[in-house]
C-alpha cells in the first residue's frame, strides 16, 4: 500500500514537473533556444499567485489565467528586448543560451532584491487536506495540481494537433525553411510559441506555489531538474518530456520514501548522466544538433 501511495504521489508531482517542462521543450522545438530563464518565469508566476492569495484571497487555482497572463506579458517583453535578433537564426547557438542565462540572473536579482530570499508557500484550504481511499492517503494539493497539469498538457496537445496555429508551430519546429516556403509567418510563430511557453510557465508557477515552498534562488535547482527532463525526453518532444517526467519523479519519490528525502533530486541528475553515457541524444527524440 505504501508503495502504491508513493507511486501515485510521485505521478502527481511528475505531471506538475511535466507542465513546468512543456513550455521549455516547446520553445526549444520552435526556436532552438534552450531557455534557462524558464524556471524564473515559473517563479514569477508563483509570486503572482502568492501575492494574489495573501492580499486578495484569490485561490491559486482560480488565479492560473492571471499568472499566465502576467508571465506571458513578461515573456513578450523579454522576447522583444533580448531574443528578437536571434530568433531568425535557423540553428541553435551557444550565445543564445548564455543570453537566457543572463536574463535568468537579471530576473533572479530583481526578485531577490524586492522579495528577499525567504521561503514562501500559499496555503489555500485544500493545501493541508487529504482524501482517504481505503488505505490510500492522497493529499489534495498534490492531487489537484497533478490533475490540472494533466488537463493543461492535454489541452496544449489538442491545440498543437488540431488548430491551424498549432499545425504551424509543429511545422516550424520540424523545418523552419520549409515552413517559410509554404507561407507560414515564422517570426510570428516564434513570438507566439515563446509567449505560449511563458504562459505555461506562469500556469505551472501558480500550481507550484502551493505544492513546493519557493524562494527566488530556487530556480537554479529547477533549471537542472527541468533540463534533465527535457534532455531525457529528447529535446523538443512534448510527449517525451511527459513520459520522462512521470517515470523519473516516481523513481525520485521512491528514493525519497525508502532511502532519504535528501537524495531524491539526485535521481534526475544521475539519470541525465546515465543517458549521456548510453544514448546521448535522448530517449524519445531524434538527433538534433
Amino acid at each position: 500500500m505504501f508503495i502504491i501511495q508513493t507511486i501515485i504521489l510521485g505521478l502527481c508531482l511528475g505531471f506538475v514537473y511535466a507542465l513546468m517542462a512543456t513550455g521549455l521543450t516547446l520553445i526549444f522545438g520552435v526556436m532552438r533556444i534552450v531557455n534557462l530563464a524558464h524556471p524564473i518565469f515559473i517563479l514569477v508566476g508563483a509570486f503572482v499567485a502568492y501575492y494574489l492569495f495573501v492580499l486578495y484571497g484569490i485561490d491559486p487555482i482560480i488565479a492560473i489565467p492571471l499568472c499566465a497572463a502576467v508571465t506571458a506579458l513578461l515573456g513578450a517583453i523579454t522576447y522583444k528586448l533580448v531574443f528578437e535578433k536571434d530568433a531568425g537564426a535557423q540553428t541553435y547557438s551557444e550565445m543564445t543560451v548564455l543570453l537566457t542565462f543572463g536574463t535568468a540572473m537579471v530576473l533572479d536579482g530583481t526578485l531577490s532584491y524586492f522579495f528577499k530570499n525567504t521561503q514562501r508557500i500559499t496555503s489555500p484550504p485544500y493545501a493541508t487536506d487529504a482524501i482517504f481511499l481505503g488505505e490510500l492517503f492522497l493529499p489534495t494539493a498534490q492531487l489537484y495540481s497533478g490533475l490540472i497539469s494533466v488537463g493543461l498538457i492535454i489541452a496544449l496537445g489538442l491545440f498543437l494537433k488540431f488548430s491551424k496555429l498549432g499545425i504551424a508551430i509543429r511545422a516550424t519546429s520540424l523545418s523552419r525553411v520549409n515552413a517559410e516556403l509554404v507561407g507560414i509567418d515564422v517570426k510570428f510563430v516564434c513570438l507566439f510559441s515563446f509567449i505560449l511557453g511563458c504562459a505555461l510557465a506562469g500556469a505551472a508557477g501558480s500550481l507550484v506555489s502551493f505544492v513546493f515552498s519557493f524562494f527566488p534562488a530556487k530556480h537554479w535547482e529547477w533549471i537542472a531538474i527541468l533540463m534533465s527532463l527535457v534532455v531525457l525526453g529528447g529535446m523538443g518532444s512534448i510527449l517525451g518530456v511527459v513520459i520522462s517526467a512521470a517515470i523519473l519523479t516516481v523513481i525520485a519519490s521512491l528514493v525519497g520514501a525508502f532511502i532519504a528525502p535528501a537524495w531524491s533530486t539526485l535521481v534526475f541528475f544521475v539519470a541525465l548522466f546515465l543517458m549521456l553515457l548510453i544514448k546521448p541524444h535522448g530517449m524519445f527524440g531524434k538527433y538534433l544538433e
Partner: protein
Amino acid sequence: MDSRKSIPIITLIILIFFPLIQFFPSVFGDQNYVLHLMLYAFYYIVMTSSWNIIGGYGGFISVGHNAFLCIGAYIAGYYSIMWGVSPFYLILLAGIGAGIFGFFVGLITLRVKGPSFIISSIALIMILRIVFDRWELVGGASGITLPYNSLSVEFSKFPHYYGFLILAIITIYMNWYVRHSKFGLALRAISHDEIRSAVAGINVKYIKVTAFVLSTFFIGCAGAIWADYLTYVRPNIFLIILIAANVVLMVILGGMGTVAGPIVGTIIFIAFNELILSYLGATELNLLFTGLLLVVTLLYFPNGIVGTLRNKGKLPRFLDWG
C-alpha cells in the same frame, strides 16, 4: 624592444615587486585590500584562462566549472588536515585529483555538444552540492575548517599572492601554447565541425578530453590555494552557480578564444564589481548587474573587447597574442 614584449614584461616586474610596499607602511599605508583585489584577480585569471581552453577554443561552454575548483579545494583541505601540512604542498595533488575527476566527467559529457553539454555542466554542480552537503567524512554542509597561516597580518596574503601569480602565468602561457600549437588547431577545428575534423584525421575524442583535463587541472590547483586563503572549504561557498557565471561572463567580456581576452575581461569585470559594491553594496543587485552586463555584452559585443578591437584593427600591439 617593441611594446608587444616590453609592456607585459614591465607589468610582470611591477606585479612581482608590488607586495613589497607592505614593508613600508609609513610611506604607502596598509594596502592589504589592494593585495586582496589583485590576488582575487589572479585567481579569476587562472579560472578564466583555463576555462578558455575548453570553452573558447573547443566551443564547449561549461557553466559548472567551479565543480573542479571545489574538488581541488576539498582534496587540499582534507589531506592538509589529515597530514598536517599546508595546502600549498598539495597544489599538485589537488590539480591531479581535479584532472582525474575531469577526465571521467569529460568522457561522459563531451559526447554531446550544445545544449545538452551546458545542462550536464549545471547538473554536475547540483550533484556535487547534494553529495558534499551530506558527506560526513568531509564535514557535510559545514565543510572543512583550515588553520590560519602563521604570518603576521600585513604579510599573510603573500603566499597566496605569489601562488596565484605563478599559477596565472603558467595558465596564461598554457593558453598561449594551446592557441599556437597543432593541438589547439585541432581543438578549434573540432569546435567548428566534429565530424569533418574526424574525417581530416583528428583524434576527436582524445583532443577534447585532453583539453578538458588540462582546463580542470589548473582550476583544481587554484582551488587548493583558494581553500588556504579562505581557511574553510564549504559546499555553499564553492558550489554556487554565480562563480561559474562570473567566469563565463569574464571570458565573453574579454573575448572568447583569444589569449588576452580572459585577462582583460577579468580585470574589467572585477573593477566593475568593485564599483557596484562600493556604491550599492547589496549583493542581490550585484547578481542583477552581472546578468545585465552579460546580456548587453552578448547583444552588442558578441566578440568581446579583444575580438571587437581586433576586427576594427585597433587592438593595441601588447594585447595581440593571437
